[in-house]
């Protein structure tokens, strides 16, 4: 379990604190979505999770290890993997497979084990064919997948993703989001997913909304992400499904609220049409 407890933090160069008594808990195997406007402190918060930044006040513990304990930092970084916003700036290997081997290599794993980990991670991400490629020849989506393989290869218990769909085209974006979900479901890796777009985190176990360096509210995606007014007040858009249903309701159509995905919204609308159509369960056209 990662516990962020009333953390306050300010960058040296900026006057106002980037985090003000922010608290967040991520349980093992949990998928937590973190959403907020630009500059609200999302990135600062996740950098606290693996001791890249240390709290000025409050504390961050990872499975009981305090990030301010220098002796624990190496272990904390083993447990909490991190995927940064710009994949270009986190690939350090001269080839794809060398980059994926960087993290586990730092752990001092023997070469055969390293080879096994790298091959497994590349296969899990579906880029085994890229093993020998040079990083600058990859597309944005491929670079993102390489960075994810590099994190998986260290076998972390949690992974923090900072806007993993940034710089990606729709197909690559879908692929990356599906991959993150499968890491959570199939491997039981705890996920912190920082997003701009509420659509990306509708399937999370829990969603936290950040505003001005603090957690404004948290709860199930259905409770948090259907609050269109609150999201709009923070400069964020509700998921399209919520937007459609709310607009229909504003137009006087009596559909039920609470849909998060377009599939659910369509089902709600269909159910409504059936209920008002003559003859009740008439076939849709």
């Amino acid at each position: 379990m990662i516990v962020v407890d009333r953390v306050t933090f300010a960058y040296e160069t900026a006057g106002a604190p980037a985090l003000r008594e922010a608290s967040l808990t991520i349980r093992e195997g949990e998928y937590v979505g973190l959403i907020g406007a630009n500059g609200c402190g999302k990135t600062t918060l996740i950098r606290q999770l693996n001791a890249l930044l240390l709290p000025a006040e409050g504390s961050v513990t990872v499975d009981g290890l305090d990030t301010r304990d220098r002796a624990a930092v190496a272990e904390i970084r083993r447990r909490v993997g991190m995927s940064f916003q710009n994949p270009e700036h986190q690939i350090v290997g001269m080839t794809v497979e060398e980059d994926v081997a960087f993290g586990p290599g730092n752990m001092g794993l023997p070469t055969p084990e390293l080879r096994r980990r790298v091959d497994e991670a590349l296969a899990a991400v579906g880029i085994a064919a890229l093993a020998g490629r040079l990083p600058h020849t990859l597309s944005g989506g491929e670079k993102r997948l390489v960075t994810i393989a590099g994190v998986i290869a260290t076998d972390p218990r949690y992974i923090a993703f900072d806007e993993p769909s940034a710089y990606l085209d729709p197909a690559a974006r879908r692929r990356v989001l599906a991959l993150i979900r499968s890491l959570n479901r199939e491997r039981g890796i705890g996920i912190v997913h920082v997003a701009h777009d509420a659509r990306e985190i509708v399937h999370a176990d829990r969603v936290a909304v950040m505003e001005a360096g603090a957690i404004r509210c948290e709860g199930s995606p259905r409770d948090v992400l259907t609050d269109r007014e609150m999201l709009r007040g923070l400069g964020l858009d509700a998921p399209p499904a919520v937007e459609i249903i709310e607009r229909l309701r504003e137009a006087g159509v009596g559909v039920k609220g609470g849909a998060l995905t377009l599939k659910e919204a369509a089902a709600e609308v269909a159910a409504h049409i059936r209920s008002v159509a003559p003859g009740g369960g008439a076939e849709e056209r």
């Binding site: 970084r77 940064f84 700036h89 986190q90 350090v92 752990m107 070469t111």
Partner: protein, 263 residues
């Protein structure tokens, strides 16, 4: 096409040799080139030709490796030809210029030395991936850790530099294209304008570097790097062919030394 190093994707014996042995060979050859007399020069040229045959690298490829340095080689040749001590030659065109036969001979020798050094270095980069060179240098420097030489940090720095070299070349290209698209930087501009353009480019690239460096350092740290020794996918291990190569190298060095003493 951007080609930071001219790695040859072939499977030759030289590709499989331990990179440390190859680096040692580069040092032996370089020392030989500097200390060579006529016999040594023949021996070294023959050795380099043998390596070229082994790699199936033709003269045109070798010339391409040396070509960027040709002006420098030419300059060295001319300096020697004009300023080396010796009796001036009495050929109609060169009379009175102070060109001596000894100077020409010395100039040719210096040119040969330079070309040999370049070729030797090319053979290393043709047969060894940059990451292997970096790993080998790290291992070579490893014993110096006790003296406070941060071998892993140095290797890490070198490898990051090599990793981002092509990225920078692309970035330079982008900046240049962007400027051209806005009507700047044509070949007809004066020296002053070109100088200003170069300065602008340098500033842009530099600013990009600082931005990138911070993020990169965070990512490197987040992935568990703390300057400690790490393991890599390819273990450096001295195997049978490496031992044979070492013996060959020793014989070669002995031959050069013998040629130097009795030649």
């Amino acid at each position: 096409m951007i080609r930071p190093t001219g790695y040859l994707a072939r499977e030759t014996v030289l590709h499989r040799l331990d990179p440390r042995i190859k680096i040692l060979a580069v040092f032996v050859l370089s020392a030989g080139v500097f200390a060579a007399n006529a016999a040594g020069a023949v021996l070294i040229t023959a050795a380099l030709a043998a390596v070229a045959c082994l790699l199936r690298v033709g003269p045109s490829r070798l010339l391409a490796e040396v070509r960027p340095m040709v002006p420098l080689i030419a300059l060295l040749f001319l300096l020697q030809a004009f300023f080396a001590e010796g009796k001036p030659v009495e050929v109609p065109l060169l009379r009175g210029l102070g060109v001596s036969l000894q100077g020409i001979r010395l100039g040719l020798f210096v040119g040969w030395q330079f070309a040999c050094l370049l070729t030797t270095a090319s053979f290393l980069t043709m047969t060894t991936a940059p990451s292997e060179i970096v790993a080998a240098i790290e291992r070579i420097l490893h014993p110096l850790r006790r003296l406070g030489v941060p071998s892993r940090d140095l290797a890490m720095g070198a490898s990051v530099a090599l990793r981002f070299l092509p990225v920078y070349l692309e970035e330079l290209d982008r900046i240049r294209t962007a400027r051209a698209a806005r009507g700047g930087g044509g070949p007809r501009q004066g020296i002053g304008a070109r100088f200003r353009a170069a300065r602008m480019t340098a500033v842009q690239v530099l600013l990009g570097t600082f931005r990138r460096a911070g993020e990169l350092a965070d990512a490197i740290e987040a992935r568990g790097y703390a300057g400690q020794p790490a393991t890599t996918l390819r273990e450096l291990r001295i195997a049978g062919p490496d031992r044979i190569a070492l013996v060959c190298l020793a014989l070669f060095a002995a031959g050069l030394t013998a040629g130097r003493i009795w030649g």
